[in-house]
């Protein structure tokens, strides 16, 4: 057991899975010698050699397209998009092949592969480096989209993603990369792909979030508990697609009130789908409209302005108050 940040925890997952399974390999721009621009793959080249830790040419479609080929041949590639902002160049391959191959061959060809990418704002990065675009992937049938929120679940979810029989887009909130540490057991630990985790049980209000927004959500929950004695249930979505609507609905049926915190722009975001699922499954249990605290439908501003655009704990607290007072 060691206290690791998310970068180290993801590195641990990769190293342990590569140790265990010679079919697992890592590829992408700068992943080998440089160890990744965030050092997520640091040290893997030395441990596993350049046939398994592969610096590729700079071409996102080539990276995912060749990973698809590797997976068809039975390897388990973990490829990296250096930033999610560059991932749109792989969309053709992702939609036309990664998400569809199982279905169009009725399972004769499957693609066990992981596409890792850092995403989200808050680290004063260059333009095109700070967006949250998880739903672009999540909307595609056959896609699995996993988003960890801390070191421990990042490690456990990545191990599960590597072992998953389907392509998994593993989106790493880079604001959480080095923001805090957690105890991460050295022994194997996995979390299921396709399940939400109730990280705190409560009876009065459900708070739902994922990725970097879990921090302000947790902070706001603590604040509202202190202020009003509210018993808050907190759900970390972890898998955006396929969505575990049951865990969400079960919680809302119990609490009757719900706040969703999402970094991405509001319209067509995952929070909209969550509201729809609550509508389908728990409408008559609601005591108040479901409140969404989200990013805005604007182009993600460059870092000079980004902080004022990101949802924060204060806004979440205000949203909770509104929901509780409805």
């Amino acid at each position: 057991m060691a206290k690791l940040n998310m970068v180290q925890a993801i590195n641990l997952a990769l190293a342990q899975e590569m140790e265990k399974d010679a079919d697992v390999l890592v590829l992408g721009q700068d992943v080998a010698v440089d160890g990744g621009v965030f050092r997520v793959t640091d040290g893997l080249l030395e441990k596993f050699g350049d046939q398994r830790v592969v610096d590729t040419p700079l071409a996102e479609s080539g990276i995912i397209g060749s990973s698809i080929g590797m997976a068809m041949a039975g390897l388990k590639p973990v490829c990296e998009m250096q930033f999610s902002g560059f991932s749109y160049l792989m969309m053709g391959q992702f939609e036309a092949h990664a998400t569809r191959m199982r279905s169009r061959t009725h399972g004769q060809i499957t693609l066990p592969m992981v596409i890792r990418m850092p995403f989200g704002g808050g680290v004063r990065a260059l333009e095109h480096h700070s967006e949250s675009r998880e739903v672009l992937f999540a909307h595609l049938p056959g896609a699995k989209v996993v988003i960890p929120s801390g070191p421990r679940n990042a490690r456990a979810l990545l191990v599960a993603a590597i072992r998953d029989p389907d392509p998994v887009v593993f989106m790493e909130p880079k604001h959480s990369y080095r923001a805090f540490r957690e105890e991460v057991p050295d022994a194997e630990e996995t979390l299921p792909v396709g399940k939400c985790q109730v990280v705190q049980e409560g009876t009065d209000l459900t708070v739902i979030s994922w990725g970097a927004m879990m921090r302000p959500a947790l902070k706001a929950a603590a604040e509202i508990e202190k202020r009003r004695g509210t018993s808050v249930e907190i759900i970390d979505v972890q898998t955006i697609a396929p969505l575990d609507a049951h865990t969400i609905a079960e919680s809302v049926r119990k609490t009757g009130r719900c706040v969703i915190v999402q970094e991405a722009p509001r319209s067509y975001g995952a929070s909209g789908e969550i509201v729809a699922q609550i509508n389908d499954r728990a409408l008559m249990h609601l005591e108040a409209p479901v409140k969404r605290l989200t990013g805005y439908d604007v182009v993600t501003p460059y870092f000079g302005r980004e902080k004022s655009y990101l949802p924060n704990a204060e806004r979440v607290v205000a949203g909770m108050e509104e929901t509780l007072d409805f």
């Binding site: 390999l25 046939q51 590729t56 040419p57 071409a59 479609s61 080539g62 995912i64 397209g65 060749s66 990973s67 698809i68 080929g69 590797m70 997976a71 068809m72 041949a73 039975g74 390897l75 590639p77 160049l89 053709g92 391959q93 036309a96 092949h97 191959m101 199982r102 279905s103 169009r104 061959t105 009725h106 399972g107 004769q108 060809i109 499957t110 049938p141 056959g142 699995k144 998953d164 029989p165 389907d166 792909v193 396709g194 396929p242 969505l243 575990d244 609507a245 049951h246």
Partner: protein
């Protein structure tokens, strides 16, 4: 400091058998009667199936499909040169390669009649990927497959196809570049049939040849007469030998002509002259191959007649099997979204089945 030339490139064109059936004895591969006849038989079978498919489509018995007539001198020798264990990552105009590699005729018929079942091989070890309808993606898949072959220390190779239009796609360049950097055992074949639907070769690229695009990636390239099965045979064997020897990928440009429409939904009279088509028909591959065999004393009218009858019989049988009604579950798609169980899919599956039941539909 004087300027100096630091690199020099050239592109070779190979033709062994010309349109009149005249063969260059110095370049002629030693195929032998059996293999030579086998090659022609496959070419004729692919043509027969393609022609029948057009009739079926016009009669409303088959969906939209891209005819492959005129491409047999590329697809057949390539398929014959491949070995068991090799991967075929095709585009969509290589019916011949699919047949030679062991895909049942019925697969193509089912596929172009709207059923994913046509993508399913009787044996996954045939290693024939489904068609890549989206242009160019397969080159990148081939690079990854070839990487895997090398990673595992096998002598398997990967053959991939693209058209002249496809060479403008990013995936073509990215795939070639990846395979070249990895020295991966890949053979990429550009079927330059002069037309990308309505876009002619000269509108597609200002390059003098399509083969030269491979030079930019540091790999051997060659342009061959794509209506000449002997030139294709020579080039693809050299490329496969190179791949298996660990010397990396090769790009082969096979110059041919799309004698038919792009797909059955296309009308070429809108954009090209019938005189050009007629000139292209004079160069088509089957006539010259037959002449070559006849000149060698390996072929005659009687054998041709017998072959035509056999091909017809084979295609008849395939069409009969294809048109034999089978009950296919319409809810099949729900079973293959993921390799794991998920409630959202299960619930929608149940919803679908309830709709089917209510609407009185089968399956």
């Amino acid at each position: 400091m004087p300027e100096k030339q630091i690199a020099k490139f050239s592109v070779t064109h190979l033709q062994v058998l010309d349109e009149k059936g005249k063969v260059d004895a110095a370049l002629e591969p030693d195929l032998g009667q059996e293999q030579a006849v086998e090659m022609y038989r496959w070419m004729r079978l692919a043509r027969t199936l393609d022609e029948r498919m057009l009739k079926l489509q016009r009669q409303g018995r088959l969906g939209t499909f891209p005819p492959c007539t005129g491409h047999e001198a590329v697809s057949i020798p390539v398929g014959l040169a491949m070995k068991k264990g090799d991967w075929f990552a095709g585009a969509f105009r290589e019916l011949g390669t699919r047949l030679v590699r062991g895909e049942p005729l019925t697969n193509t018929l089912h596929y172009y009649n709207g059923w994913e079942e046509g993508n399913i091989l009787p044996d996954a070890d045939l290693r024939i990927l489904p068609t890549s309808v989206v242009i160019g993606c397969q080159i990148e898949h081939a690079a990854g497959l070839a990487y895997a072959a090398k990673y595992r220390g096998t002598d398997e190779a990967v053959v991939t196809f693209i058209g002249d239009g496809g060479t403008s796609e990013g995936s073509f360049h990215e795939g070639l570049n990846f395979a070249a950097v990895w020295k991966a055992p890949m053979v990429a074949i550009v079927q330059n049939n002069q037309w990308a639907i309505s876009i002619p070769r000269e509108t597609q690229t200002a390059s003098e040849t399509l083969a030269q695009k491979g030079i930019a990636y540091g790999i051997p390239v060659i342009q061959v007469d794509g209506n000449d099965p002997l030139a294709v045979w020579v080039a693809v064997n050299e490329a496969l030998d190179r791949a298996r020897a660990g010397d990396g990928p090769t790009l082969i440009e096979a110059v041919t002509y799309r004698l038919m429409m792009h797909t059955t939904a296309d009308d070429p009279t809108k954009y090209r002259q019938s005189a050009d088509e007629e000139a292209a028909w004079a160069k088509e591959p089957l006539i010259r191959t037959r002449k070559w065999l006849a000149n060698k004393g390996w072929w005659d009218d009687a054998r041709e007649e017998k072959l035509l009858a056999e091909c017809k019989e084979q295609v008849d049988a395939a069409v009969e099997e294809f048109e034999t009604p089978v009950e296919r579950a319409h809810d099949e798609s729900f079973r293959h979204v993921y390799g794991t169980e998920h409630a959202v899919i299960r619930e929608q599956h149940e919803d679908f089945l309830a709709n089917q039941e209510r609407e009185g539909q089968r399956g």
